[in-house]
Symmetry: D2
Subunit: 326 residues, 4 copies
């Protein structure tokens, strides 16, 4: 099995993925898309940025949209268990020879900024401003009724190495795709918070963000969103779905904003808190791993992603993504 054993006592305690900074080229357009259409709630705006949260989140934000000249991903954020974990994390990244900086960020206490070995900008914090619950303010629900940020998915030029690196941080593999010919990992899903993933890696030119995902309660939320998008001018932003993934068992939809940032709407995965949870292996040749029901993904889904600010792209040394022709 190409998956390393889980690290049960990682050097610092990551609670969950937390937030993402998306650089967008037309903030008004993005506001219409993420707020009016998708249903995220504005928690702050000003200085060319918009802070958003989903309906059951009490942290101040899970998405920050920033007006920029070119689209990119500014940073991926993670929440640590307590303040001491911040120092432990700084020590760990520094020992790896990775850059660390203590950053000021609005609505957040101490923030550790760093990068993974491939240049993905990461930040960690322990305490973010907390907001009152709105999950029972049903008059606010709209669009797809997003409940919470669920995961990040990254193109990686070396999934084996990425899984090893993030595994050291305590991310535990729940499912993975193996290229049986080479014994190499093609893709892997790793978690901290007890679902199928907080962060996943898939083979391809990287690092790039393949998508971020929001969790919704039922497939009908996704059907409602499709009806809405297809009749309000967002038809071209629908990329793939609805369908059920073999991997994760989740019911999904993929949509892309006009800057190419992809969002997955996601429901129905399973609980993974057991430390002895056995990862589920999928063969690269099994098309049901992608879509349990058999429908192929479009080429764009295999090829397109969002670049990270300041991260150089590198091709994978594995063969090209096997696109299954429709």
């Amino acid at each position: 099995m190409p998956v390393p054993a889980p690290v049960l006592h990682p050097p610092f305690n990551i609670v969950r993925l937390s937030h993402v900074d998306l650089h967008v080229t037309d903030l008004a357009w993005s506001r219409a898309y993420y707020v009016d259409m998708l249903g995220l709630q504005v928690t702050h705006e000003g200085n060319g940025s918009l802070y958003l949260r989903a309906m059951e989140e009490r942290g101040h934000h899970s998405v920050v949209l920033r007006q920029a000249d070119v689209p990119s991903v500014g940073v991926l954020g993670f929440k640590l268990f307590e303040e001491e974990d911040l120092d432990r994390a700084a020590h760990w990244f520094a020992a790896k020879g990775l850059p660390i900086a203590w950053t000021e960020r609005p609505f957040t206490g101490r923030v550790l900024s760093t990068r993974d070995p491939w240049g993905v900008p990461l930040e960690f914090y322990a305490r973010m401003d907390r907001l009152p619950p709105i999950h029972q303010k049903y008059a606010l629900y709209k669009g797809v009724k997003p409940l919470r940020i669920d995961h990040f998915n990254l193109f990686s030029s070396n999934v084996d190495a990425a899984v090893a690196f993030y595994g050291e941080m305590g991310f535990r593999v729940t499912e993975y795709t193996e290229d049986a010919e080479t014994g190499r990992l093609w893709a892997a899903w790793t978690h901290r918070k007890g679902g199928v993933h907080d962060i996943a890696f898939t083979n391809g030119t990287g690092p790039r963000l393949h998508h971020l995902a929001f969790w919704v309660p039922t497939p009908l939320n996704i059907i409602d969103l499709l009806d809405l998008m297809s009749t309000t001018g967002y038809l071209a932003n629908i990329e793939r779905g609805p369908g059920r993934h073999g991997i994760s068992n989740a019911f999904f939809l993929y949509i892309r904003d006009q800057d190419g940032h992809r969002t997955e709407i996601y429901c129905s995965d399973y609980q993974t808190v057991d430390p002895d949870l056995e990862p589920i292996r999928w063969d690269l040749k099994d098309p049901q791993r992608q879509t349990l029901w058999g429908a192929p993904a479009p080429r764009s889904w295999f090829e397109l992603g969002s670049v990270f600010q300041g991260a150089a792209l590198q091709d994978s040394d594995l063969k090209a993504t096997p696109i299954i022709a429709p």
Copy 2:
């Protein structure tokens, strides 16, 4: 508008579509497919045939499966309002020069057998054996939990003529696709029972049965069926969907049995009982008419259908089906 005015006082009163005879090459396989997997209820079996009904039907059957050497469709059945309508129908078909015969059919009273001008075998009856309600016997529900037969869809070599002919019988057009270049009908949906259609016609080599459809209550029934089919050996029988049609607004799934008989699982269309209901026009060039959400249908869906016993095939004089490449 290429759609003829509705005939409000047709020569005889068709209540609804009623049943279909499917000739299948392996009755045991078909029983597993339609009964164990899809969830239709067996109401009679013997002599190489299997009679089935859906959960809210009280007529004896809506599908008859018959063991045969080659797959085909034996007949499309329709229920008339009362016995006198049978005689009126016989008179009307005879006056058109179409063949009529009074047939003995099990579980049914007098049956009028005839064909439409393109050779589609039709039969009409007024009273079929009635069975006790089972719609509240929830222990019997399984598979997709089919509630009732909803419609037939036919490939027709001349949709204008088919709509005119069936229109004389009282089928009223609810939606249609027009080829704006020629002013010809590309497809039309016509009803008797108050939904979007009892029978629809679409341009192509005909006559062939494109599909029969069963009505289910919610999209989740369809998602359940997809999960079941894709994990019990029926993955290859999933053809198209899930999705929402622009035309009819229905949420759909298309599946095909091993003999090529296609079934649509269908929900969410609308009520059409108003005699002054205006047909909705769609342009042949509008891909949302087929899938509101934009995903294209596979080539097989445009090309394959079931032949009718004893009906010669004829090509359409319109251009070939415009397949929208995925």
Copy 3:
């Protein structure tokens, strides 16, 4: 069986129930309730009235709210098949010695105004102004996402007589409750348009409108409405449900506006177009007829209703409503 045989060739052809006039004491409050909260669409307003339609309706309105000093029901409206049916209806009511008048009504052609023998104000028309379809304008959907008016339910002081009278007009019984001790009808559900009912009658001081109903696609619409009402100041307007009726098999919710007008939100009944459909009998002693799952209805549901303008109340000669104590 206390249910009369269906009249298959009634003296005039009623297509379906059409609309109701509700007199309300605070039009602004009612607008917030029916439009902003429940999700009906405004099609006209002015002169102290508000015209509303549901999402798949193309007739101009199905509810008219009128500012008034006291709450009441102004009229129940029905759509006839064609203009000639109006004259046939006028003749039939006149022959019964019931009052007839030709009324001017906005947005509608000729309107026949009359009353049933118990004084219920009725009106009939054949053609109402038609509006463009909005069922695929998904941005307009809100609240419970009501699709169409489904039925009226009336308290009647003599259900046997009411069913006989409306039966002569062609309303066919689908289900009924019989008091086994007396052989009398306790309640009956009768239809024209192919569902379980267009109009139902239940024993009690009458005539009063027990409720009008709107059809929604799935139980989740009802759950969404409950969440919305209970967190936006409408908690006290929730009266009964959610639940499933034994009779009709429908999933239901009952809500009452501040004037006491009750609305049922309703889904999941079945198709009844067969003229030989056998009515389903329920025993008055069977509590599952009301709620399949056993939960009792509150006392208010058995006792309260809306009076009709100009109709005198009369007690039933049957024993009092059997309230099943929770």
Copy 4:
């Protein structure tokens, strides 16, 4: 706030609730109820016991049914993070003067048996036999399609003390009901695994098990179960619901087996992994805490529970449970 601060570094690491032993008086009846009707999967049977798991569980069992002369609850089981936690737990319980024993249990490694201060029998383990995944074997799903055990709910004669005791073990409070008059806790929901609760306590004669709960994906699972139970002889086993709790926001149904063991079917709560999650306070006088939509719970729900083997009952020193009359 009467809720103690969360213990972020508890003396041993409890991953989640794990399983319950139910003593039942007719194992065949209970098998029909929990397996055939509810949909749990049998993983072992023999010697008068039946081991069950839900559809996404990979541990060997989450419910054990044992034939017994009188109904009771044998033990509540919890999974620890690693073997060392077992020794830490033993030390901690021993230091509290509570009984500890190392028990042999089938399908499980080392098991620590103990009791809480009120006599509730508890057991802890780190590794249980693992079974292959079945969550994508859709042909096995039936009944309510239970996905996983979600929580225990206990009557406690002193909720303040129970929350303090379990809080020391690391259970963090997510929501609670306070008696504003006395400042005492009336009820509290506490978690380990990142949902609203693994174990909850409510004021009453205790210790007794109020219910165990299974998680299902959507409210429609619960509606399907209600339809099934009410038409297959289990009508009297439906106790309360469906509804939405104010507390936890979950959509719920309560059912009771013939021995009085209560099961909640539960969906739609929220993620609680943040260590700084602020507990939500509810006032004892707010009826929406119990049912957001306002419908009252029946008296049985407030009064009845399952006794624990070997635990003496003690009345609460708080006033009697405030039953809100329907």
